[in-house]
């Protein structure tokens, strides 16, 4: 067990709270930087996907986990970012410019979507974003002259004044850089007044308002930031997948994103990353697991859905705080090692109360 003696207000503000943090995160950074030389190309591509999804997850986490606004149309922002990037890069703009535009355009769209969010909550907000998602998807399919419609469009390699990032390693580093920057930005935001305002809105709108928080502005801001991150993620996604078609940004994708952060652990930054790892690694595990199953089951077409669903159900049932919650428990267990008592994390009986009046 670690005890921290606090002597300075700065200590509560600092990113790394103690030496352990510095050590472990340093190690992680080192590994991530060395990854291209440590793992196979296939796994590097998976790492890249994890980073991209983590960026999107961060955005959705900000919106759903910290502001309490659930979006069922987040794939649309992903799509806006992806198409913006693809169109601009294909037209020969340098990729940093394209990336910025992708983020900004998504943010702008996010603000527009934020508008109904000012008036509706809970399930109604879910439906508003869902409806919006459908409309954007349809828009991407219909605006053929720009998006290539349902035929889809190919995406060039990101290029900067003649330098093409056409190897997986180069692109991986680009993603790593963007991810680190985004994460730092969000962490910073959450430890300052804007982040607290988001949390306040999540917990009680009425008292947030009486504390002087402009609900409309902050909800819109949350939507915009979240959309911007989704847009950035989308832009990188476009390069990673190299082929865009509207159906990649459908409701299923939105649901997947939501599942990702729930599985990771709502309301924590770590959750976004753990969720991203889960969503990329899970299919691989299933196909590895297939080899150990009898052919009848292994070859059955629904296996993946079943496993996916069962895991999701299991996580919600047994680990309501998601993977991050599980991790916390494991950590506590080791920290307390001989003194860990059973029932320390025993779930209390809890009682649902109407969300309709919030």
């Amino acid at each position: 067990m670690r005890f921290l003696f606090k002597t300075d207000y700065n200590q509560d503000i600092r990113l790394a709270k103690h030496g352990g943090h510095v050590f472990w995160y340093g190690l992680l950074c080192l590994f991530m930087v060395a990854a291209p030389w440590l793992v196979q190309e296939y796994w590097l591509a998976q790492f890249t996907f994890v980073l991209i999804y983590a960026i999107v997850g961060l955005g959705l986490m900000l919106l759903a986990g910290f502001t309490g606004l659930f979006s069922l149309g987040h794939a649309a922002f992903l799509g806006v970012g992806a198409y913006t990037q693809a169109i601009m890069v294909n037209a020969g703009f340098p990729f940093p410019l394209a990336l910025a535009c992708a983020g900004l355009l998504s943010a702008a769209v996010g603000m527009v979507v934020g508008l109904p969010a000012l008036r509706v909550k809970g399930i109604y907000l879910g439906m508003a974003t869902l409806a919006f998602g459908f409309i954007v998807e349809e828009g991407m399919a219909r605006w053929e002259s720009v998006t290539g419609g349902n035929a889809g469009m190919m995406v060039n390699y990101p290029a900067l004044f003649g330098w093409e990032l056409d190897t997986p390693t180069e692109f991986y580093f680009l993603c790593l850089l963007v991810t680190v920057l985004c994460t730092l930005g969000i962490v910073n935001l959450l430890r300052s007044s804007t982040g607290r305002a988001f949390v306040a809105i999540r917990d009680s709108e009425i008292s947030a308002q009486s504390m002087g928080i402009h609900l409309a502005r902050y909800k819109t801001m949350s939507f915009a930031l979240s959309a911007a991150l989704a847009g950035l993620g989308g832009a990188l996604y476009a390069h990673q997948i190299q082929f865009l078609s509207p159906d990649q940004f459908s409701l299923l994708q939105s649901v997947d994103l939501l599942l990702m952060i729930v599985i990771g652990g709502l309301g924590s930054i770590h959750g976004a990353f753990l969720g991203a790892i889960f969503i990329i690694v899970m299919p691989q595990l299933i196909s590895i697991g297939k080899d150990f199953l009898p052919a009848v089951i292994a070859d059955a077409t629904g296996l993946k859905g079943v496993v996916y669903g069962v895991v999701l159900v299991a996580i919600v049932l047994f680990e309501p705080m998601g993977l991050y919650g599980r991790w916390l428990k494991i950590r506590t267990y080791f920290q307390l090692f001989p003194f860990y008592r059973k029932g320390m994390f025993k779930r209390q009986k809890s009682f649902q109360k109407s969300d309709r009046l919030k």
Binding site: P116, F134, F351, K358
Partner: protein, 291 residues
């Protein structure tokens, strides 16, 4: 005349949406969660009907109640196994659960060798029959849907409004703790609700089967029923029907008069308009927290 025929098609389609939306509203009113598994329960219901008719060889009139009862029981079991353990957690957890359950159901159905991945027809006696009123035509399938929807809606409405059980369901959803304090058997009632919802889903599945065939992905039509429920106001049963009709009619008219592509997004545009104009839907309760 043409307009009239369009309207009739719209109404028929709208009743289908309304019928599925009834299931959403039922669950929402009684547990305050949104069940994303409703469409999949409907699909399983249709497969159950298919099984009783083709595998067990029951006649139509017997297999329909058999399938409905079987699904009702299935709903009860489902509640017992997956929902009950987290009863009382925030509604959002249960929403996630239903998504998971939906995946599992769809996966399990597709895992059935030879049957799961295929499309089937449900041999109903009234299949293909057409009712003509002058120049207007209405298929028997649609008439049955309209009829059953109306009856079901009225029944559920009466239950929630007048019966002690129905009020208790709402009470349990609004404040579970207080419901326990009142001696309302929250768990049993919750089981009942899911059983009922599964039975309603089975009815929807059986009625829909002759129109859209039976296949593992037939539950996706639920995505159109969401707008219906929202437009009507998520907590209102008659709202579900009215919402369904609005969506159905808008779709029919948009498909005919508006440029291509609008038919499919028209429902969602209606939803957005609705949420901006009347955020709680046509019949939704006006909610405001009193501090």
């Amino acid at each position: 005349m043409q307009l009239l025929q369009l309207l009739i098609s719209g109404v028929a389609q709208g009743c289908i949406y309304g019928l599925i939306a009834l299931g959403f509203v039922l669950i929402y009113k009684a547990t305050e969660t949104v069940s994303f598994a409703q469409g999949d329960l409907m699909m399983v219901g249709a497969f159950a009907g298919l099984a009783t008719m083709t595998v067990l060889g029951f006649p139509f009139w017997l297999s329909v109640p058999a399938a409905i009862i079987a699904m009702g029981l299935f709903g009860v079991v489902l509640e017992r196994v997956v929902i009950r353990p987290i009863l009382g957690q925030p509604a959002f957890s249960i929403v996630m659960l239903t998504i998971g359950v939906g995946y599992v159901l769809r996966g399990l159905i597709t895992m059935i060798p030879d049957i799961g991945t295929d499309t089937h027809t449900l041999p109903v006696p009234y299949a293909g029959e057409v009712i003509r009123l002058g120049a207007l035509v209405l298929s028997a399938e649609q008439v049955v849907v309209i009829g059953v929807t109306v009856v079901l809606c009225a029944g559920l409405f009466a239950m929630f409004r007048y019966s002690k059980l129905g009020i208790a369901m709402q009470a349990a959803s609004q404040n579970q703790l207080a419901a326990y304090y009142m001696g309302i058997p929250v768990k049993r009632i919750n089981g009942l609700v899911w059983g009922l919802a599964a039975a309603v889903a089975a009815v929807a599945g059986l009625l829909l089967a002759p129109i859209t065939f039976v296949h593992a992905n037939m539950g996706f039509i639920g995505l159109k029923a969401f707008p219906a429920a929202v437009v009507g106001g998520f907590g209102s049963l008659p709202g579900a029907i009215v919402g369904g009709l609005i969506i159905g009619i808008v779709e029919a008219l948009a498909g005919f008069y508006l440029p291509e592509g609008f038919k499919d997004i028209a429902p969602y545009i209606v939803v957005l308009f609705m949420l901006v104009l009347k955020p709680n839907g046509l019949f939704g309760e006006k909610l405001r927290k009193k501090v």
